[in-house]
């Protein structure tokens, strides 16, 4: 009996083992069916899509609120049978702004295109006057055929579609007179600048001008800013009335110990939604700080005999492309000059006579001569690269030690020559 029971148990074990194997084999079949999905995807046959030529496939247009425009899309039926086309407007549920489907109408709304035939569709876009400024996207799907994807997509990709991008913009209502201030400042002095703002709109626009830290990391070649934003005081009204102009006053008190350069920004804080570029309501500040010397440079030389001496003092070529002074106000132009003195033994002043002043220029014939490659085509046209001032003094000196004193103004470099004897 026990043997029989043992035999049954053994048979059952064997059978159950086969059963498991059999069920595993069944699983294997299921797996192979699942795997077949892959090959189905890979073999998706372009032949399965309706052959329609859509021209153009993409369009982009600029609108202002309240404007409307019409675009044309042509569809050619490349099939051997007629195709029914019923365009729908599909708005992707993402993006900066979501377009309202009602802005777009497509006509004809329904049509059958015969085999080999073409049909033009008019896409009319009407932007409401109160639409928000921004970028919008929409697709016009001409059939409901979608691109198959191995995974579910949150937004279908229509095979026969026209993609439309809209840049909805409005001209800024505030005009800024000078978007930058660039000047040479003297340490210890105070300066005033004005930024004019004009409101071309029919409503007052609020402003909140203040210094911005956006480019404080660039202090110029030394890497350190000549002064901090505390040196700058900005005063203005809080808004620009409709159709009016106001001035933003910028006062700079340059610290007495300031050296080097200052690069900064005034963010005007204009409350105008048509300004989308963050830099569009900013005024760039670029200042070089220098200190006017109060003591002259002294050159000691010896005259072996009493003789006429000619002294020539010249400023550097200066700012090769500009001048020493404010870039926003040419009236601030400051020409270089010199106070020249001569003293003899015992600090006796020897009178000098300024006999001439020369304005000397540097002229280039363009080309690659210190110019960027894109200005190469200016070759053969004269271009002034900068000017310098040369002052000539005459003095009769006695024999002995002499001191030439030169106090420069509005130049950061100068050269001198001392010619002894008649020339």
């Amino acid at each position: 009996m026990n043997k029989k029971i043992s035999l049954y148990v053994l048979v059952l074990i064997v059978l159950s083992t086969f059963g498991v194997v059999a069920s595993s084999a069944e699983f294997g079949v299921v797996k192979s069916e699942t795997l077949q999905v892959g090959p189905q995807m890979e073999s998706f046959d372009i032949q399965n899509f309706t052959k329609l030529e859509i021209s153009p496939r993409y369009g982009n247009a600029q609108f202002q609120p309240g404007e409307n425009k019409e675009m044309t899309v042509t569809i050619k039926n490349k099939e051997t049978k007629s195709i029914k086309v019923s365009p729908i407007v599909v708005v992707p549920p993402f993006g900066e702004y979501l377009m309202d489907k009602e802005w777009i109408t497509v006509s004809p709304a329904n049509i059958e295109i015969p085999a080999g035939g073409s049909q033009k569709f008019a896409i009319k876009v009407v932007i409401p006057a109160d639409a928000s400024i921004g970028y919008y996207n929409a697709n016009i799907a001409f059939t409901n055929e979608k691109m198959p994807t191995p995974y579910p997509e949150p937004f279908p990709n229509y095979v026969h579609s026209y993609s439309l991008s809209i840049n909805l913009w409005a001209p800024p209502k505030i005009q800024i007179s000078n978007p930058y201030i660039n000047d040479q400042l003297e340490a210890g002095k105070e300066y005033d600048y004005k930024i004019k703002l004009k409101n071309t709109g029919d409503k007052a626009v609020a402003i909140d001008p203040k210094t911005s830290q956006q480019n404080q990391m660039y202090g110029g070649p030394s890497g350190e800013s000549a002064f901090t934003d505390d040196a700058i005081t900005i005063t203005s009204q809080k808004e620009v009335p409709a159709g009016a102009s106001i001035e933003v006053n910028v006062h700079i008190k340059v610290p007495a110990d300031a050296k080097g350069n200052y690069q900064g920004i005034i963010d005007l804080g204009i409350d105008d939604p048509s300004i989308r570029d963050e830099w569009a309501d900013m005024v760039n500040l670029g200042f070089g700080v220098w200190k006017q010397p109060t003591e002259p440079y002294v050159k000691t030389f010896n005259a072996k005999e009493a003789a006429p001496v000619t002294i020539e003092v010249s400023s550097n070529m200066g700012i090769a492309y500009g001048y020493f002074g404010s870039s926003t106000n040419t009236k601030n132009k400051k020409d270089p000059s010199f106070a020249v003195t001569m003293t003899g033994t015992g600090n006796t002043a020897i009178p000098l006579t300024k006999v001439k002043t020369i304005i000397k220029g540097g002229v280039s014939l363009g080309g690659m001569n210190g110019l960027p490659p894109w200005e190469l085509e200016s070759e053969s046209i004269y271009q002034e690269m900068g000017t310098q001032i040369v002052e000539t003094y005459k003095v009769d000196v006695p024999a002995g030690d002499l001191k030439l004193g030169i106090l420069p103004e509005n130049t950061q470099q100068f050269e001198y020559t001392i010619t002894m004897g008649n020339n």
């Binding site: 110029g220 080097g260 090769a320 500009g322 870039s327 200005e375 200016s378």
Partner: protein
């Protein structure tokens, strides 16, 4: 008035009016208010061709001075477009030889103050320019599309140049598209 002279007078008036119309329909484009030829003046075909090769940028020329001089390789023509709205003029050089007008050089600085200032402001935002600590007034020059295409795209760009550093600005977007730094050995 003698009845016989009246038709003659009418004819003269008509001829003057036609001459006026012909003058009005001369080669001068609307953006050139006054054209002044200095030196040798070639046939009007050259002037017509010149006006297809020069154009002001967001500005009109109050005066266009054209100087022509015969050289061994053809007629050398310099065109200077002057606008009251701009600090500096536009200068173009051409040669005209065997019926072909070829632009040989240009230096275009006739820009509205707004365009000039905005280009400078855009350039000043560039890191390289800030680091250079540029001082003084830069030159702002218009670069024509056939030059610009080598550096960005075939469109009008503005070149803002201080000593040793220059940036190309796209005035449609006020965006810096190229920087040239002399000390960095080029672009």
């Amino acid at each position: 008035m003698n009845m016989g002279t009246r038709p003659a007078l009418l004819l003269i008036i008509l001829a003057v009016m036609i001459a006026g119309c012909l003058n009005a329909s001369s080669t001068k484009p609307d953006w050139a208010h006054d054209v002044n030829w200095l030196g040798e003046k070639p046939d009007s075909i050259v002037e017509k061709e010149l006006f297809t090769q020069i154009t002001p940028y967001r500005i009109e020329y109050d005066l266009v001075n054209i100087t022509a001089k015969n050289e061994s390789d053809g007629l050398h023509i310099r065109v200077i477009g002057i606008s009251k709205a701009a600090m500096n003029p536009d200068i173009y050089d051409f040669t005209y030889s065997d019926g072909t007008l070829t632009r040989t050089s240009y230096l275009l600085e006739a820009l509205q103050p707004h365009d000039r200032n905005t280009a400078i402001a855009a350039a000043m935002q560039k890191k390289e320019v800030m680091e250079k600590g540029v001082i003084g007034v830069p030159t702002v020059r218009r670069i024509l599309p056939d030059t610009s295409k080598k550096y960005y795209a075939a469109k009008t760009l503005l070149s803002v140049t201080w000593t040793g550093i220059s940036v190309l600005v796209d005035p449609d977007e006020w965006k810096v598209v190229q920087v040239w730094n002399e000390n960095a050995g080029g672009r």
